[in-house]
Every structure is written in C-alpha cells, then in structure tokens.
Symmetry: C2
Subunit: 144 residues, 2 copies
C-alpha cells in the first residue's frame, strides 16, 4: 500500500502539501520553536496529529468489529521533541482520548477497544518513541 503526496516551497517560505486524492492542501512551515513561522502546521504537529487521527480510526474500526456504540470521541495529543545524541527527535507522544458512552455497562468493552486501538495503531507502531494512552471514559448523561 503506497501513500503519495507532493510538497512544494512557496514564495512566502511556507511549504504546500498536496495529495492527489484530496482537494485541500496543507500549508506547513518550520515551527517557531526551531526559528520558523507562527500560525502554520509544522511537520512535528502533523506527525502528532497523524498519531491522534490514527488512534481514532483504529478505535472506530474496533467499535464496528466488536459491535458496540459510543456517543463521541475526542483525542488531545502531545508530542515531545528533545535532543538525543545531537539530533532532535520525538521522545514520546501521549494521547488523551475522551470517549462518551451511554451507560456504565459499556465501560469494560470500551477499555478493551482502547487497548486494542493502542496496540494496532499503524502510526504509533511506525514510531521509535513510546506512545502512551491516558483515556477518560465518560457517561454522556452525567457529563451533560
């Protein structure tokens, strides 16, 4: 399976990422932390976002396969970059999924699906650094 795209540097010093199958491009730049520009997606934030998006996709996959319903899922994500042996690399990503369910009886199956989504997340499994999950399962009727 091959995933393709094309990146081009624009006159304003911002890179435009384009995938043939997607209408909207993404403007990306070096982050301010590395002397770049504010207000753009950085490769670092895109990689962190790929991990969060992949976790949600994999959780959805297991929800369908394990035949349970959930009301909502959000996922905050933090990617940590540090210098290791003279090179900046990701040393860890933490995902904070919050899953809303209708009632307490669903909690065990949700926790099982979270564990499976963690174990099979394609992006996480492609990274050298550990990806931690700090999940929060809420009952919709109580949270509202």
């Amino acid at each position: 399976m091959i995933f393709k795209l094309k990146a081009g540097l624009q006159n304003n010093g911002v890179t435009l990422l384009n995938a043939a199958e997607v209408d909207s491009g993404i403007e990306s730049a070096t982050p301010p932390e590395f002397g770049g520009k504010e207000g753009f997606w950085s490769p670092e934030t895109l990689l962190t976002g790929a991990a969060a998006g992949c976790f949600i996709n994999t959780f959805q996959f297991f929800a369908k396969r394990m035949k349970f319903e959930f009301d909502d899922i959000t996922c905050e994500a933090e990617g940590v970059v540090e210098r290791v042996e003279g090179k900046s690399v990701f040393t860890g990503i933490t995902l904070y999924p919050t899953i809303m369910i209708a009632d307490e009886s669903l909690r065990p199956i949700i926790l099982d699906a979270v564990e499976k989504a963690h174990r099979y997340c394609l992006v996480s499994n492609s990274l050298k650094c550990p990806v931690q999950i700090r999940e929060n399962v809420l009952i919709a009727s109580i949270a509202e």
Copy 2:
C-alpha cells in the same frame, strides 16, 4: 519542546484536527485502502507529508547555515505500508526532492546539504522504517 493538538470525530465520521496556533483545521479519515473514506487526508498521508515537509525545512535550515541560494525545491514522497507480524506499519518512505539551482557550480554544496537534511530530519529520525532520498538537482536555465 511540546507539540499539541486536539482531534475530534465529526458527525460525518471524519476527524477534525485542530492545533491552537493554526487557524485552519485538517479533516482526516481512514484511507479507502483500509475501508475508509475517499477525499480526505489520512494519518498515513499526513505522516508521509510530515517527512517531506520536515526534509524541506531541514534543507532550508542548512541552506541558510551554509550560505547558499537555491531557486526552488519540491519534494514528492511515497510512504509504503505493509503488514509485518500481523500489524500494518510503515516499512519505508522515499523522498524525491527536486532542487533548482542557478548554475552547475552549486551542485556539490547542494548535495552536501541534501545529505545533511537527510541525516538531521527530525521526522525521519523518529520513524522505525528507513527513509530514502532520491534527489534531482536541476539547473534552472536549462530546465526552463
């Protein structure tokens, strides 16, 4: 250094990625190859894009530091996903940077900067799989 964002599943089954510092969100979905939706950025394409964008950023960094000028850079990218021991993972990414320069005398320093950008690319160095570079250095006056 911490890179943060928030992902939320929308009613249409598409995930919206939002970073506090960026006005425009990114709609992301499971790719059609994994039974998802067409027309959206997938986590797989985002990760491939992060590698391409990071390469361009790192090349720009070395251009400034090594004090040379280039006319343009584009970078096609291909990420390969395969099943390994029952899990889908990235098994390789190839970047095809094309760099336009004014004249042939710049070629050696460009090739040196490409090699350095490869070696110090933060995203590449955070991945388990190898990232290969197939560069193409063109003289602007001849290419036009």
